[in-house]
């Protein structure tokens, strides 16, 4: 029996050796331009994990280094483009964002860490993209930007970047935020598509495992918009839709109630992680 046991251990070791190299999030720390980034945090109460991890900890060393160095981070171009849009006069009121909000480094600090938040006017949660549209239509006399168009991702990147390093914490006590959180939780655990998978199948049950070449993270949203090395700047709802498409389910529309509920819930799942926008991923 003893001999068999030893053989078992040897076999297990051999398998581990031939399998994927990493299994768990790496032991590494992140600092961007002197700002410490929290990539591991104690999970909030009621969370399925004890600790929440940034997706950064699941990426290869080269990808991690690209985010560490803001000169090398290709996503920083979006932030720079976003700054131009911030100052650009548009619409019938002849105003730019800066006309009312001044220096974004001050007025937009904390926005990326606290959105989505309750919007009493629409009686729904509002995210940064929709807030941009709200100001454009109600304050500037400009048209709303279509999903991923007209600099929406760049301006969102610029606004969220002003919160770099700040811990994510959304306020669920306002309005009906708690009900939207519940709805988002339902979506997260609902199996969808022909492959019959829920978000939780991959990002909770199989977290840390490899699915083909991809090391499965917790699917955190603290780095969006993100720069994907294989496909460029990627907005959050684009990522949600991509993950849903991969289950062979119909993709809900960007900013639909379903995806706004999901954004509310998944943002909460990353409570305590630093805003990393623009993060770099594979």
């Amino acid at each position: 029996m003893k001999r068999l046991l030893i053989a078992g251990v040897v076999m297990a070791a051999a398998f581990a050796g031939s399998g994927p190299v990493m299994a768990d999030p790496v032991d590494d720390t992140l600092e961007i331009d002197g700002t410490p980034i929290v990539t591991r945090a104690k999970a909030p109460e009621g969370h399925p994990f004890d600790e929440v991890y940034s997706g950064w900890l699941f990426r290869e060393a080269e990808t991690r280094d690209a985010e560490r160095d803001s000169i090398e981070n290709p996503g920083m171009i979006a932030v720079e483009d976003g700054e131009v849009l911030w100052n650009k006069v548009e619409g019938t009121a002849g105003k730019s964002c800066a006309s009312c909000h001044g220096d974004a480094a001050e007025s937009m600090k904390g926005i990326g860490a606290s959105f989505p938040k309750w919007d009493a006017d629409s009686k729904k949660p509002i995210n940064v993209e929709l807030q941009i549209n709200k100001c454009r239509t109600e304050q500037m006399g400009a048209e709303a930007l279509a999903f991923n168009k007209g600099g929406q991702q760049e301006l969102t990147s610029y606004i969220k970047y002003q919160s770099l390093g700040m811990p994510v914490e959304i306020d669920l006590t306002q309005g009906d935020m708690q009900a939207w959180w519940e709805k988002g939780k339902d979506v997260y655990y609902t199996r969808m598509g022909q492959l019959n998978l829920a978000c939780a199948s991959c990002h909770e049950k199989a977290m840390g495992k490899f699915i083909r070449a991809d090391h499965l993270s917790q699917g955190q949203v603290n780095g969006f918009p993100t720069y994907r090395l294989k496909s460029g700047l990627t907005s959050l709802h684009q990522r949600f839709r991509g993950c849903i498409r991969d289950t062979r389910a119909e993709q809900p529309k960007a900013f639909s109630d379903e995806l706004m509920a999901l954004e509310t819930y998944v943002t909460w799942r990353g409570t305590g992680l630093s805003v990393e926008t623009p993060s770099v991923r594979q």
Binding site: S18, G19, A23, M192, G193, L195, N196, C202, I211, R212
Partner: protein, 154 residues
């Protein structure tokens, strides 16, 4: 027999053949699970292990390597490890159980398993239009994959 009749008869025979093949195929809703697994072939046509290996690795078909490693497929890039290694799997499970696992592993493991049912219409919500009412693999592809798994002995 006139030439014209011959052609008609030939065509009729072809029609008869294809309906016969169809009739003996077990539909996804009619697959019978027993304690030993799925004991009856889904098509009555022996599985082809070489075709099964192709369906196994194809990302559009089984995409089994997304979640499983296998030494036999070591030439293929990127094996996942969401599920266990399939090395020696035919020494762990008899053929009817392997068939049951591929058809719908939720009958063998638990409802909670991450592994999709490859010949099941018991699927998730909001299936995309192109896939409504369709199974991931055809009945014959399941038989082929099962035949391929049968070659993975210790």
């Amino acid at each position: 027999m006139t030439r014209r009749m011959k052609i008609t008869l030939g065509a009729m025979a072809a029609v008869a053949l294809s309906t016969a093949a169809f009739a003996s195929e077990v539909s996804p809703d009619a697959v019978e699970f027993t304690d030993d697994g799925v004991t009856v072939s889904l098509t009555g046509v022996a599985g082809d292990p070489a075709a099964g290996a192709e369906a196994f690795k194809s990302r559009k078909l089984g995409n089994c390597l997304a979640c499983h490693t296998s030494t036999d497929m070591s030439k293929e890039l990127f094996h996942g490890d969401v599920g266990p290694s399939l090395d020696g799997v035919a020494s762990r499970w008899e053929q009817p159980m392997l068939r049951a696992i591929v058809v719908n592993s939720k009958h063998v493991f638990t409802d909670e398993t991450v592994m999709p049912g490859f010949y099941s219409l018991n699927v998730g919500q909001d299936v995309a239009k192109d896939f409504v009412g369709k199974t991931i693999l055809t009945a014959q592809q399941v038989e082929d994959v099962v035949a391929y798994l049968g070659t993975l002995k210790e």
